[in-house]
Every structure is written in C-alpha cells, then in structure tokens.
Amino acid sequence: MSSNLLITGATLVDPHHEQQGSADIIIRHGVIGRGDTDDLPVLDAKGLMLAPGLIDIGTFSIDLNAMTAGGITAAALMPDQSPPLDNAALVQRAATAGKPAVWIHPIAAASTGLAGGDMAEIGLMKEAGAIAVATGRQWIADSGLMLNIMTYAAALDLPIITHAEDAALVGQAVATTGPVATWLGLSGAPAIAESLAIARDLMLAEQSGAHVHFRQVTTARGFDLIRAAKQRGIRVTCGITPAHLLLSENAIGAFLTFTRLSPPLRSEADRLAAIEAVRDGTIDLICSGHDPHGPEAKRLPFAEAQPGMAGAATLLALSLALVRDHVVTLPRLMELLSAAPARLFGLAGGSLHVGAPGDLVIFDPHAPWQIDGDTLPGNAGNTPFDGLPVQGVVRHVVKGGRIVT
C-alpha cells in the first residue's frame, strides 16, 4: 500500500488556526507535503472534516479496532500491562505492537512491578522508547520514593504521569462520598482524596523540577490547585476523559457497573467545574482512558466489578459534544485531542503543517449514531454511555499516508 495520498474536498480543522477552510492535503512518503499531485492516489473527502489524528495519552489496552473507530492514530500505553512495563525489553516490544495502524508509545512503570516500592529502570526504558513514566492505576503513597522518581525523571526529561487519589483515603471505596453513594449503600471516599494527592505531587514537582501530568483530574478543588500551580510556574499539565465531562455520579443509577470508574464519577458541581476547566485551559488534553473489560469483569455486584471503561471508539463523538455546547471551538477541541498531547509528550503529529506526519482523521461531525455496548468496535463494550445518541462518525483514518479505514 502506498504512503502517498491526495485528499480532496475536505474542510480542514487545524488546531493551530481558528479559521477552517477547504483545501487539498498532499501526503508524500508518509509526510504532509506540497507540489505536484498528478501521480497520487486520490481520497475524495468532499463534505467531510479533516483533522490531525487523535493522540490518546494513557490508554490501558492496545485495541486497534476501537482506536481506529475513534480516530486515534497514536496512543501512549499505560504500564499497567501483564506483565507491567517495568523493563526495557517489555517497553521495546510494546512500542511495535500497534503498527502499522496506530503508533503505540509506551509509558514506563515508575516503580518495579508498579508496586510502589523500588524505582524501576527508567533510564533504560527511555532508551527503549518510553515517552514518560507513570505510577499506573495507583498513587504512590511513599512521598520519599515519589520525590526520587520525579527528580530522576526530570534529569532524563521524562514527564511523570500520576494517578491522583490518596490511597489511604480511598481504601475500599468505589464511589464518591455523597447522597448517591449513601443511598445506594456503596462505600465512598471524599472528593478531596483527589485534591490531597494533587497537592502533594504538585509540591514534589516544584521541588524536583519535573513535569508532572495528572492523567485525570475530576474535582473542582483539583482544578483550583492545578490552576494555581500553573500560575506559580510549576510544570504541571492534566487530562480528563469524556466520562467526567459528561456524566456525574447520578449515572450510577441502579448499580450500573459500566459507570464504575477510577477515579469514580463525581458530583454534578464537580462535573460543571470540569467543563469550566476545559473552557479556561486548565485542562490540557482529553483522553479516552480506554480500559476494556468483558462481562466477566463487569457483570458483578458494583463493588466487585473492575473499574474502567471502553473509551477509544467513542472519544471523538463524545468530545464533539463540547463543540456543540459551545465550550470550545472545533480547532480548540483538536488541540485538546491531538496537538497538545503531541506537544506535551514530544510526539510527532497533531498538525496539518507541511512536514507533519500524514496521520489524519476524516470525519462527519454531524452524522448521528447510537452508542451500543454490544456492537462497539474493540475488545469490549463497557461504555458508561451505552444507549446514548451522539453525533460524529469517523469516515477514514489515515496513518502515515496509508488509509487504515
């Protein structure tokens, strides 16, 4: 298959320009170029939108069908694999697992076995292709170890991706303390479990000079801390998934285990604070948090079900709701989904400029469909949005000039 392509008729959504216009895109040898188009195979994208492929920071699974359906052309893979990505060989293997459809960028485990005890071989893993270091699904409770990891990673110029939930405060909790958890009889942890963890890691980041990235921030007080830290000049960034932007704890309903997430769904006030944090730029990027689980992990009592959701296939469609609700413009959304992740983690992509990789998503932002867990592309259909009507269908994904779909 050729890595040369001419895409005609699409409306371009360039994260770096608010103006959207129609223009042809030329890809030669996998890279966006210009010049003669005579010999190029043509992809007609009339009536569709074209943007840089989505770059998904912090997915738990290499799930190519789901990613392609969601318009994702590159993904940073969490170290929470089996076995955990805590040595160079495993990182190297993971880096090639998605080719040619999706570039997988492994994230190194911060501690051996993700156990929070000893520092993993971060430097060797960087050489093997790791683009960042992460604490995994868990917070590292040992502040001394966390400071050492940050100091060490800062010298290697690797960002630290951390999970912001104070482990002792969370305990066995499966929901956020409040009326919903109370009436359902679910054990809850207060929302400050998040801000408490953020506060510590911000101080450690300031002390060490490391770039700390909170994979998901979901509470009003968490956003306040991040906002203040950015003003103070601390190297901090954060992400969020569509779930915490569009759903509150009320979605748990009658113990729907697809809504069991980590961190758990929050109050409506926190959800509105998250929307505001997208609007004012406190949130740097939107990710899928893709964590597919089959029925054996989800068809259980709420507290026994695995946390996590299938998010890749719905990432673009759900995020487009933010544009329709006038929270962000379409180019700004593509900044959050593509350009910012590329810039913050030093990845190629996120741009339509000449010389950028020919990684593109071509979509119809208005086409309606209904999210259905039973037919969702990918390894599992555990979406908390099961049954929701949405708009936005990925028509084509182009990776390095090759048409993936």
Binding site: G171, T177, G178, P179, V180, A181, T182, W183, L184, G185, L186, S187, G188, A254, F255, E296, R299, L300, P301, F302, A303, E304
Partner: protein, 334 residues
C-alpha cells in the same frame, strides 16, 4: 389497633384501586421506588398473618406446590429462619441455600448462580448478599419474583416493613411520630430502608450516631442528624437502636466499644429523655451492654424487640403472598 390514622391514598380516578394496581412491582428489591400506599398495602396484608400465626393451626396452603429458594450469600440465622417459616406456613416448598463462602471460592459468578436457580424453576427467590446491588443483579436474570433479604449496605426492605408494622400496631400510627435511629447508620441497610419507609409514611426521622458513622446526604429526605445522643433522643416516640457492626469497624471509626457504650449506648437515663411511653426497637442480634443495656431490651413495657421478630414472619408471609399472586392466577393480579 390495626389501622393507621394516616392513610396515604393511592392515585385514584374514582374507582377503588385493587389487584395488581395496588402493588405493581414484580420484585421486592427495596423500599426506594415504593409509593406510600404500596407500603401500606403490604402492612395491611400482614395483619391477617399476625392473627393466623397466633392461632392454633398456623397454616395456609396458598403457596402449595411453589418452590421458594432462600439463597443466602451472607451468614444469617434469624432472617433466614423467618423467611423459611413464612414460606412453610403458606405451604411452599422451601429450600435453603447457604452459600456464604463456598460458591465464590469455586469461581462461580453471581450471574451463574442466578441462572442455575432460574433453571430449577423456582417460584420465589429470597436473597441476601454482602454487596450492595447484588440482589438487583440477580433479579434482572431470573423469571420469578425476587425478595431482597439484605444487600450490602443498601436495603433490607422486609426489616423496614416489619418495623413499620410493629410501630403501627403499638402506636396506632406512623404519621407524625418522631423516630430516632441510633448507632452505626453508615454501614446499616436497616437504617436506609427504615429512613425511606418511615419518611414515606409521614414520620419525622432523626439519626443519632458518632460523626464517623453518619453518612453524608441524609438531609435530602429531611432527616436530621445528631452526634449528641441526648439531644437527638429528646421527644422521640420511637427509639430504634442499630447493631454495632463490629466486623465492619476496621479503619478506626470509633475508639472502643467502651467509649461507644458510654456515648451512644441506650440506658435508662437516656431513655427518660424520650417521650414517656417511647418504644424501643432493635433489629437484632443485639450487642448487649454495647448499644443497649439488658434491662431495657428485656423490659416488655418499652421494648418491642421480640414483637419485631413476630411481625417479621407476618410481613414476610404478606410479601410472599402478594408477589406470587400473578403466578398463582389470583384474579386481578395477572
């Protein structure tokens, strides 16, 4: 006295409500979702079984030929026994399945168990499970009515119904009474179901307990919380003590049983602060000398604790009867 002075009325379009319209639920999963007149329907139905249970024969054959499976995933003696007696007195074939630990160790999931019970053509399944929401999960997978005998911290609806029946019989009403629910509310499904039931029936509910054992969000139903026992109990018509669930006390909720008894145990001096003829209740089993002193628990003048056990059988008979009417082809309940 057997009827309430306060009669929450069903939405009526002129004609009398009867049959299925009186109690339209397939299962009994919780008090939440039940309208006041539906609660009242079950309480009214229970009265006849109180009378039967006090008679010589104690038997009725209306559930003859029906199979009732009591699937208890959490240890229980009195609730299991109560459901077993209720089923047998109505003529059902009752089978007990104590699955406390065994099946999960063998790796069978709850859904598999539900499917198995369904394949055995049970006509009624009574379930207790240690996880909130587990009973609903099973109810979604089986064809027959499911009764929740307690799921995690979520609900224990028959306990709330038997408590309501006890109060109604002793006090003549529920509407307008001040009911203090005292102790470990956080971990208590009994408290949740009782709050829903009693507020629906018009009572004023107060919660009393250590601040660490009072959950958030209770004020949404107009329920007031007190951390000072003496203030909370003042003027109460009913004092409902909860069992201190010592098995769920990991994590430092209270300093010691001794301190708990000193601050939150019910004794004569504290009871004197309530209304003069206040009714004392406890869902059992009691931790004597912890949440309640023996002289109160054993004093028939104020304690309704043994009567609660008696009402439990009657209320459960009412629930078993009402929920199987559709299957039994009772007129108007198809």
């Amino acid at each position: 006295m057997t009827s309430s002075s306060h009669t929450p009325s069903a939405p009526s379009s002129g004609g009398a409500i009867s049959g299925r319209a009186l109690f339209p639920h397939k299962h009994l999963l919780g008090i939440g979702g039940m309208a006041p007149w539906q609660i009242q329907c079950l309480l009214d139905e229970a009265e006849q079984w109180v009378d039967l249970n006090r008679s010589k024969t104690k038997h009725d054959d209306r559930l003859m030929g029906m199979t009732q499976i009591n699937a208890f995933f959490e240890n229980s003696t009195r609730t299991l026994l109560s459901f077993e007696i209720a089923g047998k007195r109505l003529g059902a074939d009752v089978v007990n399945m104590q699955v406390a630990q065994s099946s999960t160790k063998k790796g069978e999931t709850l859904i598999d168990t539900a499917v198995t019970l369904n394949a055995m053509r049970a006509d009624l399944i009574v379930i207790r499970h240690q996880h909130s929401g587990a009973v609903q999960l099973i109810a979604d997978k089986v064809d027959c009515p499911v009764l929740n005998a307690g799921d995690g911290r979520h609900e224990h609806p028959t306990q709330a119904l038997l408590d309501a029946l006890t109060i109604r019989r002793r006090k003549g009403r529920i509407d307008g009474l001040r009911v203090a629910i005292c102790g470990d509310v956080l971990h208590s499904r009994v408290a949740r179901s009782n709050i829903l039931c009693l507020t629906a029936m018009g009572a004023e509910v107060r919660l009393i307990g250590p601040p660490t054992l009072l959950p958030e969000g209770m004020e949404q139903l107009g329920v007031q919380s007190f951390t000072n026992f003496d203030k909370g109990i003042a003027g109460a018509h009913v004092v409902m003590m909860l069992r201190l669930q010592t098995e769920r006390m990991e994590g430092g909720f209270i300093p010691s049983l001794k301190e708990y008894h000193a601050l939150y145990g019910l004794n004569r001096e504290r009871l004197a602060l309530a209304e003069t003829d206040a009714l004392v209740m406890h869902p059992g089993p009691m931790n004597r000398g912890v949440e309640i002193t023996s002289d109160i628990a054993d004093d028939p003048a104020c304690s309704a604790i043994t009567e609660q056990v008696e009402m439990g059988v009657a209320v459960r008979m009412a629930c078993l009867d009402v929920l199987t009417r559709g299957r039994r082809g009772v007129e108007g309940w198809a």
